[in-house]
Amino acid sequence: MAFTPTKETYAGKVYAVTIGTGDRAVTFGGENVLPFHSFEGTTPNRPLIAFEIQDVPPSDWPENAQKAFEGVSDDPVKWAKYCQDELKARAIALRLVGTHPDRENRSPEDAVKTVKDVLAAVSIPVIILGSNHAEKDTSILVAVAEAAKDRNCIIGKAQEANYKTIAAAAMANNHKLIAMSELDINLSKQLNILITQMGFDKERVITDPMCSALGYGLEYTYSVMERIRLAALTQNDVTMQQPLLGDVGMYVWKVKETTASEADLPQWGSAEERGIAWEAETATALLISGAELLIMRHPKAVAAVEKIIEELI
């Protein structure tokens, strides 16, 4: 007798989200099964990895992450083009970290210029992120959402403290929106509800349950993502069917395993390989728990994860 695998059927489906415009537009999400369970249903789109770039040189990144963008990272336009043209990125995530009051404290006008320049230089979809300073992000993201009007970007991140302003700006300029809560599934659902109660289309939201790096609380992110996916699929919870974001790079490239030098910890082996592996491992774990969108830094880590996706999908 032939072997028949047991198959689950699910009541719900993850919303498919398309970002960007023209023939470089990309769609992710849309599956009606748990991650990579294609044998049980349909997974029409592969997860999307966006390369992280930022508005100011990445002096805060560890050397091995910086090195990968040597010669281009002094200018966000060069950096973006490098990702698109040389690294064949399908999307980029522009983090306006220089707007943070404790950093360069760049103004909304500065941020608008950076965003316009980057958008003019690339045709792939762009995710535009603030500096995660809830107050400053409201003025920055409102300005850049308008500057990026009709490029169908993702704007983020809207949090409990600032979602009204940011969601309104994303809505007025036809963007998608990242809704971020802090590792609490119930608050994640609540934020999605509040945003949709403003009239924001629930199918234009991306949920960020907050990332964490391997060894530094990854299991919490993993568990929240897994439970969100199960609620979306098995309970058909329409407030939890948004694609999930894993903002991997910024959490990974600050932990000891990616920053410690070989001189300090020779027994840990090559620092560069170690950092790449740490980012790829973290990203893969989140893909398996439910992430459809990843923001990553190191090209070799991205390549490794793309290969895993290719094998699993």
Binding site: N186, K189, Q190, I193, A231, Q235
Partner: protein, 285 residues
Amino acid sequence: MLIIGEKLSIIAKRVREAMMKKDKGPIQEIATRQWKEGSGMIDANIGPAEDGGEDLMQWMVTTIQEVVPLPICLDTTNASALEAGLKVHNNEWGRPLINSTSNDPERFPILELAAKYNSQVIGLTVGKGGLPADAEERAGIAAEIMARAMEYGVPLEDIYLDPLVLQIATSQDHAVKVIEAIKMFQEMNDPPMKTVVGLSNISNGCPKHVRPILNKYYFLMLMNAGLTSAIADAHEMAEALNEKKLLDDVLAGKEIDDAAKMKEIKKTLDVIMGNTLYAHSYLEM
């Protein structure tokens, strides 16, 4: 169903101030109201009461029993404050209840007090190791508390097992586990063990308008599971009892006339039973 009036707690600002100033007025007013609303016992929660706990507990017990003919649930972790309260408790109005012992060795001496003063005692099913993971673990701890009570000479009829209600906003899966534990506790002895819950913790952290709704239907679900008593708001529980038929009809799959009420009950049951994920706005979805 025994309702133990919950309102006299040091956590409430007005009560705390009255306790500090030894102002009988607010304490007696609140106690009297709870008695009129149907409480069969009054909880006097003085907190850990490390300084002057003995005086404070005695003052609370006598202040309440001066105006209300009910027994007191003496609620503190301070064993000597408990003993002081038990000494002055007027048993003419019924036997006192100690809140609480547990499976933590530090709380074992409380069983000695229960035996010495012929008091009833709540056995909170937690150990030293933290919160119980599920109903089975709660039942396991309950068995240990029961065995220890017998060692100390406290009859099992005098034990109220408390499965520890957790907040639905952060520990949703425990709502069902507590209901299961209430059923399991009863099967652990013949006659069935008595049970009690600190009810309103279920809605702790939830929006103000949602709290009574969760409290009421959770109470009714626990009651259906055989709960014998609850530390709760007597007024709210009286309302809950008025709605019991509606809830039972919804549980039986019947339509009820009030469509809005039916929705409210269904959504709340779904959240309690874990069929939908809790969010503060769950009633609006």
